[in-house]
Amino acid sequence: MTMLSRVAERVYWMARYLERAENAARLVDAYHHMVMDIPRSAQPGWDILVRILAARPIFGEYFRVPNEQNVVKLLIAESGATCSIPYAVHAARENVRTTRDVLPDEVWELVNELHLYAREHSGSSVGRRNRQQFLQEIVSRSQVITGVLNSTLCRDHTYRFVKIGQLLERADMTTRIIDVGAADILDQEGAHQAIDHLLWGTLLKSLSALGAYRRMIGPLVEKNAAVDFVFLEPAFPRSLAFCLRGIREELSPLSNHTQAVKMVDRARRKLRRFESGKYGRDELHVYIDDLQVILSQVHAAISDTWFRFDAR
């Protein structure tokens, strides 16, 4: 089965953008919930969302004050901003539009509907009144698409590039959330001991990990256990360990995979050396920084090997 490099690249990005839209929606939703439970003085401030999404420069192009209204507006309603949910949805749609022949018919229809939904409702969903409904709709529609892909795609190259895009995006988002989220919580540690577990809980929730954590680890959310869980838990499908293992599995049937597999193995070795108990706030940040560099090398290797090679 022949697969054009261009088509592979587009389905890979479709998967990344879909995952990105879902993750961003989940993140805003989790934070939105937490804000209502926590005394104002203990709230990390809305700009944490901008920092997690590495969107500070973009934010500056649109707004000055990082308050709730502006941050939410950027992420939900500014369709031209590359960090926004409607932007990710639109980018996913454009990638599907040009690869329709390798994807199941329903995928095009569903992605198109998601795009229309986001376009129609994003403007009216910035205020608290409609916000949650909008975010949950984005999450559940994205999940439907992922489900259709999982249950209808043949396990060929198309599926592999979809899967790799999805897992790599998820791994990237997980590291960002832990990086920024943990730093913020650790900054205030002690000040509001009573609500620490709430903050860590929100962090898990934004990664869809809270329920799984409770079942597998226990009801009380603690820093080390929480970070270990989302980094290392092999059974949890959003953990870093799970994502990296998945990427490796999908890479190995592809030809010329040596370089990309090497990079994934490097990330996995790095992860095996992870010891949450030993790291303070700064060590954790340095560690995650290194890990993110390796993840971007994984992407670069994939791109060089399969998307943009020249004649050999």
């Binding site: 697969m3 054009l4 261009r6 592979a8 539009r97 022949d101 010329n256 090679f309 004649a311």
Partner: protein, 482 residues
């Protein structure tokens, strides 16, 4: 509301399904009777069903607009056009003959230029035409065939005879609609098929694949054929994807291909480069290779002409084939048939006045109100003046254009395009139409059974182009039992 055919009136033009006396023609009788017996509202219901089917099948074509591109459903009329197999047999032979002669002509022009030396066609009109590509001189594609896919436009005139109006030899489109139209008719009017023996059309993609693979420079069981598209923003992208899928070929864009130092063409795949044998080219030759044609083209493949000239890859249609797709050259096709094949033309052409000749030009300028004036090098029905429908100012403008650049204009008598019953709003009305059959030429020759019938949906209009509000009909070639 009366929906029947009782008040269907032909309008003085030849009608495809009715005699001037208002009786259905023999081949159309069954269909007319059956459609006439449908209860009130049923025709409308079938039309709605067709619209739903079109949307489901995703038939759309893009219309260029200022504000980006929109996908629009292709207007489809559910009443089929019916032609007897006996008539079609002759037309089909005539089309094959024409395609053979045109290909001999193109091959001659880029090689020995015998026909020019013999004075049968004036050398300057060929060699000075924008369609003549010096970069193609000396090339010799397999079987001497340059125009592998030809879409010839036929019209039926007042005398009831079919005439060739033009031959599209560059990148003719529309064949996917021919196939889809049949699918839709089968879905929404299945009972019509009970009493007819209709020649099938759905083998076109396999015939196309057979034609293309016969061109392969390498002897292989399954040559690598690709469809080269300019991309999603092209108006015929749907058709490119449709044909690629039908042939099981890859749909590639220019950036998917590369030419190596040995002039071989490869496509970039995740398994590494794969050698391409045949390219079904759906981009204009001007954009094909920035090394030879337009440097600013980002759609093309640098080095593609090198590869083609070296015989390492076949390109269909071959670059340069457009030299015979020229409204001036058209006037000489009957002569070509006699010259190359020693045969008399089986199909009629429309008498054509060439404004470059003083005598013709004087006649044209004196009869602007009767003639149709066309630029020699436009397609899509743009820049045409229909004399009898024109006003004084337009005629003056065209007179100036002709005098300024006579080589660029031809004129033909205004043809009385035939009509066929078409379901408009809630009644059946006559509308003008033409017919585009497709002729494939490789090792073998193949002519589609019928083709794409295009209908001017606007009352009285003669413009059938999809970009200007035209629609289409299913076209039946029926075996007679009269």
């Amino acid at each position: 509301m009366e929906q029947g055919w009782g008040d269907y009136k032909t309008t003085g033009f030849y009608d495809e399904l009715f005699t001037p006396k208002g009786k259905p023609r023999v081949a159309a009788r069954q269909a007319v009777n059956l459609l006439g017996r449908l209860p009130d509202g049923e025709l409308d219901a079938r039309r709605t069903a067709a619209e739903v089917a079109i949307r489901e099948m995703g038939i759309s074509f893009t219309v260029y607009t200022e504000g980006g591109n929109i996908d629009r459903a292709w207007p489809f009329d559910i009443i089929p056009r019916i032609i007897t197999e006996r008539e079609w047999r002759n037309v089909s032979r005539g089309l094959a003959q024409r395609s053979r002669a045109l290909n001999r002509f193109i091959d001659d022009i880029y090689n020995r230029q015998k026909i020019l030396a013999d004075g049968k066609v004036p050398a300057d009109i060929v060699l000075e035409s924008a369609n003549y590509k010096p970069a193609c001189a000396g090339a010799s594609p397999r079987f001497g065939v340059w125009a592998h896919i030809c879409g010839s436009d036929l019209i039926r005139n007042a005398d009831g005879k079919l005439y060739v109006l033009e031959d599209n030899l560059r990148v003719p489109s529309g064949v996917s609609y021919m196939l889809e139209n049949r699918e839709i008719t089968k879905r929404v009017l299945p009972e019509l098929f009970e009493n007819y023996s209709i020649l099938p059309v759905d083998d076109y993609p396999s015939q196309l694949y057979a034609t293309l693979s016969s061109l392969s420079p390498r002897e292989r069981k399954r040559p690598c054929v690709v469809v080269l598209t300019p991309g999603i923003y092209n108006s015929a992208y749907f058709e490119h994807a449709f044909l690629a899928q039908g042939m099981g070929a890859e749909l590639v864009e220019g950036s998917d291909l590369l030419v190596d130092d040995e002039d071989c063409v490869y496509m970039r795949t995740v398994d590494g480069p794969i050698r391409v044998d045949v390219i079904y080219r759906r981009i204009d030759e001007e954009f094909m290779d920035p090394e030879v044609f337009r440097e600013d083209s980002v759609l093309g493949v640098p080095g593609l002409m090198r590869a083609w000239r070296a015989g390492k890859v076949a390109i269909a249609n071959a670059p340069g084939a457009g030299v015979a797709d020229d409204k001036v050259v058209y006037a000489f096709v009957p002569e070509m048939i006699r010259y190359y094949l020693g045969e008399e033309p089986l199909l009629r052409s429309v008498p054509t006045y060439l404004c470059m000749y003083d005598k013709d030009r004087d006649y044209v300028l004196a009869h602007l109100d009767e003639l149709v004036v066309k630029p020699a090098n436009e397609s899509g029905g743009y820049g045409i003046m229909v004399g009898p429908h024109s006003d004084e100012a337009t005629r003056r403008r065209f007179a100036k254009l002709i005098e300024k650049n006579p080589r660029n204009y031809i004129a033909q008598p205004t043809l009385a395009l035939s009509t066929a019953p078409t379901f408009i709003d809630d009644s059946v009305q006559p509308r003008h139409l033409d017919l585009r059959p497709f002729i494939l030429q490789g090792r073998e020759t193949y002519v589609t059974a019928g083709g794409l019938t295009r209908v001017a949906m606007v009352k009285g209009s003669l413009v059938v182009n999809s970009s200007q509000g035209g629609g289409s009909k299913d076209t039946w070639i029926v075996e007679g039992k009269s």
